[in-house]
Every structure is written in C-alpha cells, then in structure tokens.
Amino acid sequence: MSSDPLGPGAAPPFDATLFEVLRNRLWAINDEAVDAIVAVSGSPIATEGNDFNSGILTATGEVALAGPYVLVHAAALGQVVRYVIEHFGDEPGIGPGDMFITNDTYVGAPHQPDVMVMAPVFRGDRLIAWCGSCVHQNDVGGPVPGSITVGATSIYEEAVPMAPTRIVESGELLAEVEQEYLGRSRTPELNRLDLLGQIEANRVVARRVNGLCDRYGTETVTAVLDGLIDRTEAAVRARLASLPEGRWRHRGLVEHDGIDDRVYEIGLTMTKLGDSLHLDFTDASPQAPALINTSRAITSSYAMAAVMTVLGYGLPWTPAAFWRAMEVDTTPGTIVDCLWPAGMSMGVTAAGQEVRTAVNICLSRMFDATDDPDVRGQILASCVSGSFTQTISGAFDSGRDFSAMLLDGLPGGSGARWGGDGLDTGGYLTSPAGLCTNIETNEQHYPVLYRYRRERTDSGGPGQWRGGVGVEHAYQLHRAASPVTSTVFAHGQQPPTAAGVLGGEPGTQHTGIYERSDETIEVPPPKQMGELAPGDLYANLCGGGGGVGDPLDRDPASVEHDVAEGLVSEAGAARDYGVVVGDGNATAALRASRRRERIGRDPVPPLNAPPAGLRLSSIVVLADGHYLCRRCGHDHGPTTEPLVSLLTVSRSSVDERTPWPSARPGADRFEIRRLYCPSCAVQVDVQVALADAPLLETAELLEH
C-alpha cells in the first residue's frame, strides 16, 4: 500500500502486475458509469440503439479509455474537455464537484442532439483526471421535432447549441442552467432523466477513482492513465513505422445540402511518413449553409474513430494514443471545417461519414502496399455511408402525439475484407455495438405497420470478396390520425458512396421511395421534409458495403452460393461477376469476353509469380522507374507519369446496377470510372466522381 500525498509526486516505476490490475479496474469503473446512464436513460435511441458512449480522461483531457459504443463520441470527449480546461481553467476556475454540459458542435459535440456532460475528478483540491459521457437525445429544441432541420439556411434555424456551461457547481445542480438546457427541448422529462444519469455516472467515476487513489496512491493511478496512452502510442507509432511510406487519396461526395441539390466534395490526401499519419482534408468544397457540415472538431473525431478502428487492430483502443500519432488539416470555411453560423445538425451522417470512408479507404490502400499477410488481412472496404434516415411525427388515431427517428437505415452492408465477404446488414464501422430496433418495437410505439424487412439482393459491392448487402424496409401508417410529417435525410442516392478497394466495386446506392395510395411512385431527394398519408407506403432501400478485388476473380462457387441464399440474383451474377449459374463453361466464356470488352482485345495470361519490384499495391509494382503489372508483368510506363494516365479507363453511368439514381434529375453529374491493366485486363481501381473531375491518383510511394 502506498502513501498518498495529495500533492503531485514522482510517478512510481512501472509495475506490470499493478498496471494490469488498475487497467482492468478502470475499465470496470467506466462500465459502471455506462450502467448508471443506461439504468435511467429516457432515450430509446440511446438504449435500444446503443447511441452513446462514456470515457475516462487524463487531467489534460486525453481520452485514456472509452466504451465500444459510438467511437466518434469517444474522440469528442477529449475535445470538449480540452475546451473546458482552456476556457474555464484559470478564470473562473474548475473545482471539485463541478460538471459541464454542452451540445456545441463547434466545440466537439457530434451533432446538436448529442449532449455531453463532463466532470473533473479531484483528489482533495488537485485535479487528477476527467470523465464524461455523450448521449443522443430525442429532441434538443429548434424549429422541428427531433432537432434536425432540412432546409435550414444557418445554425439559427437548427437547434442553437449550448456552449460548454457549468451545470453542476461544487456538487449542486444549478437549477437555472438545468432549466436553460431542458427548456429548449420538446421532451424535457426524457432529457432530464439522461442528464441525471450522466451526472450520476460522473459521480461514480470520481468516487471510484478516489477509492483507487486511497489504496494505491494518486501517482500510481494517474501513471496508469498516462501509461495506457504512452504505451499504446508507442505501439501505434511502431506499427506506422513498419508500414510503407506513401501518399494515398480518396474523394468523397455529398449531394444535396437541404436547400439546393449541389454536390460537395471531400478530398483526403493521407501521407504516412515515419511513425505518424497526416490526414489532409484541405481540398474540400466550401461549407453548406447548414445540416450537412462538420466542424473541424467533428471531422477530427471521425478521422480518429476510423484510424482507431482500421489501423488499431489488435491494439488497445486507447483513443488518445491514436490522436497523438495523427494530424488533421482542414481549410476553415469548408464542409469539413465550417464556420459560424453554418449549421450541422446531421453532419454526422453526411460529411462525417465521408470523412470516415476516406480514412478507411486510404488506410486499406496503404495496407495493400505491404507484402505482410497479417497487415493485408486487415484490408477493409467501406461500409454503407449516408443511408436514408427518417424522422416522422404526427398523431395516433387516439389523438396522442408521437415523434420518432427510425433506425431502419442502420443495417447497411459492411465492407468486404481481404479474404472474406463483408457482413450482410452489418451496419457502420465506427459504431460496433450499434443496433436497429425490432419491427414489433416500432409498431408498438408508433402508428406504423411494416410490409417487409429484407436483405437487399445485389446491393453488396461486387468484388473478389463481396461487400455486405444492405437492408430494405417498407411500412404504411396504421391507426394514425392523419398524414404525418416525414423528413428524410441521406446522401449517396446518386453517387455510390461505399467505396470498394483493390478493384472492388462500391456498394449499391440507397434511396427512399414513396408509393402513394394512388400507386404513383415518388423518389424524394436525399433531403426532404415531406408527408406520408394513410395508404401510402414508404420504402427505405439501404446501400451495401464496398467489395475487395476484381469481381471477375471471385470464386464462381461463392457467387452460386450467394444466388442460392438470395443475396445475389442470377442476373446480378452474370452482370457483376460474369457467372452463369450452374454452367462452368459458360462462366469461363463470359468472363473471357468481359475481360476482352474491358481492353478491346484478348488479354494476356497471368504470370506464375509477380515481377520483382517495390510494391505499390496488390496489382502494381515499381521497378526501374516503371510501373509493372503484378499479374501479367506488363510495363505500364514510367513512374514520372501518373499511373491512372497509363491504364485503360472505362466510364459508365451511376445507374448501371440500380435504376433509382436516375429517378431524379442530376444522375448524369456523376460517373463511375473503372481502371484496367491494358494487357491482362485486371480491374485495378473503381472511382466514383463528378463527371468533369480528373481521375484520382490514389496511391504513391514516397522516399523517407
């Protein structure tokens, strides 16, 4: 047992046993905080969908541990605490028993419905750590129920955020601040339950951490928090150092800003040099008026969550360790670094998702530049990005009001991995524990009757390994008083957003569809406040995940299995994979003709072993200043030229696999570019872009 000076002392030497004991104990304390929130939460989205998170931070606001729920929340905790330290630390000061609340998206709250309550952990009068949580609320005010305003021209027309504010002072809940927060909401009783749960969670952490200090000494406990970060950081940096030096690129697209059907681009150039990662998002479109933006803080949180999930395999998920090893650049005034008074009430499912996808894809391309099978086994295509979210509000025939955000867009497809298909209806990468609701739960709470919940055939991105298929739902009003307001929100309706890698195809686009009672079909734009009347049917078709590798390389037996399971249609098998079900010879012939079509001549056969050289990807090596095809040995040309300029390119419209993108004007703004080896016809890359945008040079090796 250690003595316990209240003042700072020297950190004790590392003790492998005690470190493990305390590490486990801190995790158990954070779990206890989660239990405290869930026990009282008034938010069904939070408790049924696991839309929350909780973490423990160092005294300087670095997140040492956080739960497996919404990982973006975990990163956000650190940004909010550092803001509080900076703005309250010296004047007016932070004291024992204080807590701070915010839903300020400019500070770090992912969007306004995500309410964060943070607390310092004091030992006597010394601040030794922080803790806090983030919980999605049903409503935090603003013009419309649910607090997400399609058509807002600025943040003034959304829920105006509450900057970090002291809501508990020396243990006392400040009634006027509580009122200021709850008074904005249409669901104050429910928000109050969550607030009390979050406050109690912070008290639990403070009490338990002090208990640990009593027993083991303050310096020992804080050394474990620091040690978790330092030691994980060292491993993250060592992993980065072992990976190739280079630069990788991706461009994400978000169409429609809630007012105009404009297209916003989010370009990422990821540079890996030495033991750190530089994520350059400066090449992004100017900010939108509202709704779809992310602040620099949210962009950084999404980037961190993606880095931790994809690069952090097998490492402790210590958010601050990843945060330290990466650097994010943005240009103020862009969609990923918006400036006041730009709104961002749904930036989490717009720009935020494209940030995640861009990081995910660039990391996978980097993994593809190594020969290490363990690293290559972590290659992952993008999961669904931007599927249709819907809020409905109105009244039951009994007169009772209701308002709901349906989670039916959550089970989109997951990305394929190297060596395996993506999870069908597996949902988002950065919310591992996210769940959709049961149909019966929705029908119990809202005046709806579902017609189906299905796996969406042919929606997974084709590839040697297939992306997971997405879900599709349809429902009608049932026992509703009258038409209800239906607000839909998405992107990726026209351009496919769930990117594939290594020549894999993107997952199919999503859409919402109204089938009116007079049998007319309406395809809403990806942001719309509309109406659903009794007798109408609303269908939500959710996109699939991206594929990995050339689809013509997929084992025909796997394609036939997918057809038998209904995940791929016979027509899709032929179109996407060149497989004629039940006929191996016909498959071989069809695949040969597909390869011929790609390059306009008979392809050369593959080599037995790839040519020597510096590996750029599984398909290209660099040797003597030239790009060589790893499959057939073809010399593409000198590395002084961009590789994309040396490959065969085919261009097609975005509705080749599903008709819905063309159901609305503007589909011709986009195109899909496929890049092939001009000699063996292997598919090297698939790019989705604005039709007038240049080809993207996606991979480049650098000298260190």
Partner: protein, 594 residues
C-alpha cells in the same frame, strides 16, 4: 470418488423418500442421491466421465457411484427414488457442434430476414480482442440456410387484430417444400404471435397433417415482444428439441428398466424444472448446468439463514458469477446463450474468461501481465498437467506456489513443469523470481474476478460487502478468500458438496428442505495430515494441510493452511480463518486484501 457422507438434519420429506440430481457436463457427469430417511438424511455423491454420444451411460454411472457412496446398489436407489432432476448439456453441444436437427423456419412473408439481419448485432458475445478487430466482427451464426426460411402471407397487428388472414394454401406449400428438402423440425415464428397466436397454431395443425412425424416449435410459447429474440429462441428450440427429447426418452427408458418409477424432471435455465411431457421446451434446457449451481446456492443460502449471496464458480476456462437476492437467483436482463439472444427468462450467470487454464503472458503493447481470456483448455492444459502444454496458466501459478499438489486422485501435478513455464513465459520478462511471478499471476486473475463481482452487484444497486459469498467448482476455493477480501466480503462458504454442487441443484422440488446450519463453539483443532511449503507474504513457509472430509463440525483453523478435499483444495492465506459447520460446509473469514 471417495466417500464423503454429510449428515443432514431431519426434514418433512416422506419417510424413505429418495431424490436424485444429475448434471451432465462436457467432461464429467455428477450425481447426488439424497436419502431422507428413516433416521438421518444422507447425501451420496458420485462422478463419472461423460460418454460422448451416450449421455445415459454417464448418468447411470454417476448415479451408481453416488449410490455406492451411500453403500447401496444402483437398482435399490432407483427403486426407492421418487424423483430425478436432470440437467443436460445435449442441446448446447448440438448447437456448438452443428449436429442439431435439420430445421425449417416459417415466418410472416416479408420478414424472412429477421435472423440474418440480427438487429445488425456484430460484436455482442465476442471476446474483447475480437471486438477490437474489425475484420473479426461477425453476426451470430445463422444456424440454417436462408433457403429454409419461408414466408407465408398473413399479418396480425400490435393490437392482435388480423390485418391479413393466413394464406393456408401457401402455408401448406411451404411445409411440403421444407419436408421435401429434408426438414424434420419446424420453427414457426410470426409477427405479433404474442398478441394473437391463432395463425401459428393453425400452421402447427397443418404441419401435424402434412408431416406428422416432425417436431414443431411455436414462437407464441415465448410471450415476449421483439421478433428477433423470439424467432432466435424458437429456432434454437426446434434445432435442439428432437435430440433433447431423444436423450430424455433414452434416459427414462434406461431408468425404468432399472426399476425407477418416480418422476423424471428436467432442469431449465429459468431455474425451474419441467416434467418430461409436451410442455418441455428444449431451448430452456440450454445452459441449465450453471443455473443448477445457482439453485443449489439459493438453497444453501436459505439454510444459512441468509437471503443475499454471491455465487462464484472457477472452472477451467471461466469464472462464473450469479447473484441471489431476497433468497432467489436474479434473472438476466438481456439473456443470451453463446452469441444467440434469447427471449425467455433465464437465471443470470455472468462469465469472464479467467479460469484455471487461463494463459498468463506479457502484453506486447502495454507491457502488463495479462491473464486470460485465452486458455490452454483441457488439452494440452496447464504445463503442470504434463500433457504437452508449455505456456504458464493460473493453475501453474498455484502449483508453483505450493498451493496444489494434485487434482484429487485423478492427476498428479508437475511442479517443476509449472515453474519452468512461469520462468519462460512471465518471470524472465518481468525480472521476477518464479514465486513472485506466480503470485503476480494470481493477483491479476483475482483482481479480474473481483472486478466482475463488483460489476454484477453494483449494476443491480448492491454493495458486495453486504453479501455472503459461495465458492464452488474445482478451483474457486483456491482463490475465494483473495477475491472476497478484494470486494470486502466478510464470509465465504465452501459447500460440503462443492464438487457436485450443480447436481445437488438439480434435485427436484424443495430439494433438501433442511434445517438451519449451525456454527458451534467448539475450538477443536485437529492435527494436520501433512505439511506443505507454500508461498505467502513473499516467502515460503511451512503450512499445515488438513484432510477436509475428516474435519469434525466446529473445527476452527487459521491460515496459512490448506484443507484438501477429494476434488478441490481450500487455500487459507495468513490471517484467513476457517470454520466447519454442523452440515460440513466450510466457512471462510478472509483477512485483509493481499
């Protein structure tokens, strides 16, 4: 198994009543025979190897061993017995090995994807290591091909009103198609069958007409809203029901042939038992073994005159915790078996992967000493088993410190092998001596166990310090005072029947109806049977070893000491105390945390 008779006080059970409890596990089958008269009630305990593919043989052998423990032949005990309670693992084994019945699922048209979607769950039930590696995420195993999930047009709404009548022709066609595809067992799960089961019942009638030999499981048997969990439960039931029914039938026949004319009842994971008839749902037998342990705990807690207890079981690969509050086991809020969600009430047993076989290693990133969740399993097992294992485990740590020398009469443990494994795997890297490293391994393991106990109690608003702890299963008594002290528990009870404790929980009805347990004032301290050098407080000291079954009621012992039982060893650290009560249970009073 050596004789260990325990005297029970007289009970209101009918004179001459004999009751039997059997718990079949993957490796061993345990049995107890309770003979409540005339005269003093007696408990016989037996253990036998489970016979793969013939669980009846293991069950009979275990009962025979328990009978002989009471000095009686099997036939005599069976003739006298008026009930047998049976906890079976056959259903769970079938699931884990994919050997269940070929099933079909009939559901509401349009909702065939309920199971494949699985509410998008991809990390629930994964180990922490898998959960933090995105390429390891997976849906719960689907258990049947989508081709055998058939939707039929019908719809009932949340109010139980028929929105679309059942298309009987489509249902009949679905049944025929599944039958022709080789299905022998049907799960029928329709939306809102909880509000009105009429369509499910009609489909069951159709199956009875079209495919009379097939088994049928209906989701309306599980009265819970939420189609995913209810469908999952129904499918699990359909897969396991034919095997469970066959096993029960075989056992019942074998018992009857040997003269048993009483009631055979089957343990359920809800904590009850069910007669062997149409009401038995196989899915409710899944995971009933650990639940039987909790029922035995509840019974023991009642005998002790308490109502709040923490039941702890340290096995080879896991540490299991259950809570008893108000005298009853608590139920799980989100019940699962393996990675499959369940919809019926299940007694809560929470586990972590810390057990005797848990591997100790240095974390390559954090540099800290990790114990579990990876396990050496039964094969190759801990290094000290000398079956080819060379990586250090928790059991190796206990052996290296001198806490254990053998597993009853079953296995001699190789202390040198344990020391070598610890030296190579842990001690060298940490620059510690072997005993220091072994002590560190036990410390980490016990702290993980204490974390789980805190979580389980605090989650339900309790302070563990106010609870009595029970420790059973092969290894719990080795570590119990250590993890109990860690959470502030003042008293740990190691039941007399610790090694067959779950089987005693399977004994039917108010199982033993025993009188109170008394701690007497005797201060008798018997001579130790031997002395053992063991590591406590940073040094090896010579400690007395007592023969557990030979200890008289009232015996009081002080640590450091060991109490050897046929299949477990109680470790008393310095400052721990022990006392044997009038029923042969050992009460441990932990000293301060280590």
């Amino acid at each position: 198994m050596s004789t260990a008779e325990v005297a029970f006080s007289l009970t209101p059970l009918p004179l001459g009543a004999v009751r039997i409890g059997i718990d079949t596990g993957g490796t061993f089958t345990d049995a107890v025979v309770v003979d409540s008269g005339p005269g003093e009630a007696r408990l016989g305990m037996g253990k036998a190897l489970s016979t793969p593919g013939d669980l009846t043989a293991g069950a009979l052998a275990a009962v025979e061993a328990a009978a002989s423990d009471l000095g009686q032949p099997l036939a005599e005990v069976l003739k006298q017995a008026d009930s047998i309670g049976y906890a079976t693992t056959v259903g769970l084994n079938a699931l884990l090995t994919g050997t269940g019945a070929p099933i079909g699922l009939i559901t509401t048209a349009g909702f065939e994807a309920t199971l494949p979607v699985a509410r998008a769950a991809k990390v629930a039930g994964l180990s922490p290591a898998e959960a933090t590696e995105a390429v390891c995420w997976a849906k719960p195993p689907l258990l049947l091909s989508r081709r055998r999930i058939v939707g039929v047009p019908e719809r009932i709404d949340a109010h139980g009103e028929v929105v679309l009548p059942l298309d009987e022709a489509a249902a009949a066609a679905a049944i025929k198609a599944l039958r022709d595809d080789g299905v022998t067992s049907y799960a029928v799960s329709l939306l809102w069958s909880v509000a009105d089961p009429r369509h499910e019942i009609r489909i069951a009638d159709l199956i009875a007409e079209i495919h009379p030999s097939a088994h049928v499981s209906l989701s309306s048997a599980v009265p819970r809203i939420g189609e995913y969990e209810r469908t999952m439960t129904t499918v699990l039931d359909a897969i396991t029901a034919p095997l469970v029914a066959e096993e029960i039938r075989t056992l019942a026949d074998a018992l009857a042939k040997r003269g048993f004319a009483g009631h055979l009842r089957v343990m359920q994971s809800s904590g009850g038992t069910c007669a062997v008839d149409g009401a038995l749902r196989a899915v409710e037998t899944l995971g009933s073994g650990p639940v039987a342990g909790l029922l035995a705990s509840a019974e023991l807690v009642q005998q002790l005159g308490r109502s709040e207890a923490i039941a702890t079981d340290v096995g080879g690969t896991s540490f299991d915790v259950g809570l008893i509050t108000g005298g009853e086991p608590t139920m799980a809020t989100r019940p699962m078996i393996g990675r499959w969600a369940l919809a019926h009430p299940v007694v809560e047993v929470v586990s972590i992967g810390t057990g005797g076989g848990s591997l100790a290693r240095i974390d390559p990133v954090l540099g800290s000493l990790r114990v579990g969740p990876h396990s050496a399993g039964a094969q190759p097992g801990p290094a000290c088993y000398r079956r080819g294992g060379s990586a250090p485990t928790l059991t190796d740590a206990a052996v290296a410190l001198g806490y254990l020398s053998g597993l009853g009469d079953v296995l001699e443990l190789d202390r040198e092998a344990a020391e070598r494994a610890l030296e190579d795997g842990v001690a060298g890297a940490l620059e510690l001596s072997v005993p220091e490293a072994a002590d560190a391994v036990i410390r980490v393991a016990c702290s993980q166990m204490a974390d789980l106990i805190r979580r389980v109690t605090v989650q339900r608003g309790h302070d563990p310090a106010g609870f009595t702890m029970l420790a059973y299963g092969g290894a719990a008594p080795q570590y119990a005072t250590r993890y109990a002290a860690e959470v502030g528990v003042a008293e740990v009870v190691v039941p007399a029947a610790a090694s067959v404790f779950s089987a005693s929980g399977a004994v039917d009805g108010k199982r033993l109806a025993l009188g109170p347990v008394a701690l007497t004032d005797s201060t008798s301290e018997p001579p130790p049977s031997e002395r053992r050098s063991a590591w406590f407080d940073r040094q090896f000291i010579s400690c007395p070893v007592y023969d557990g079954p030979g200890l008289a009621p009232g015996t009081q012992l002080e640590g450091p000491a060991f109490i050897d039982h046929p299949s477990t060893t109680i470790v008393l650290r310095p400052d721990d105390r022990a006392e044997v009560d009038s029923q042969g249970h050992t009460h441990l009073f932990p000293g301060p945390p280590s």
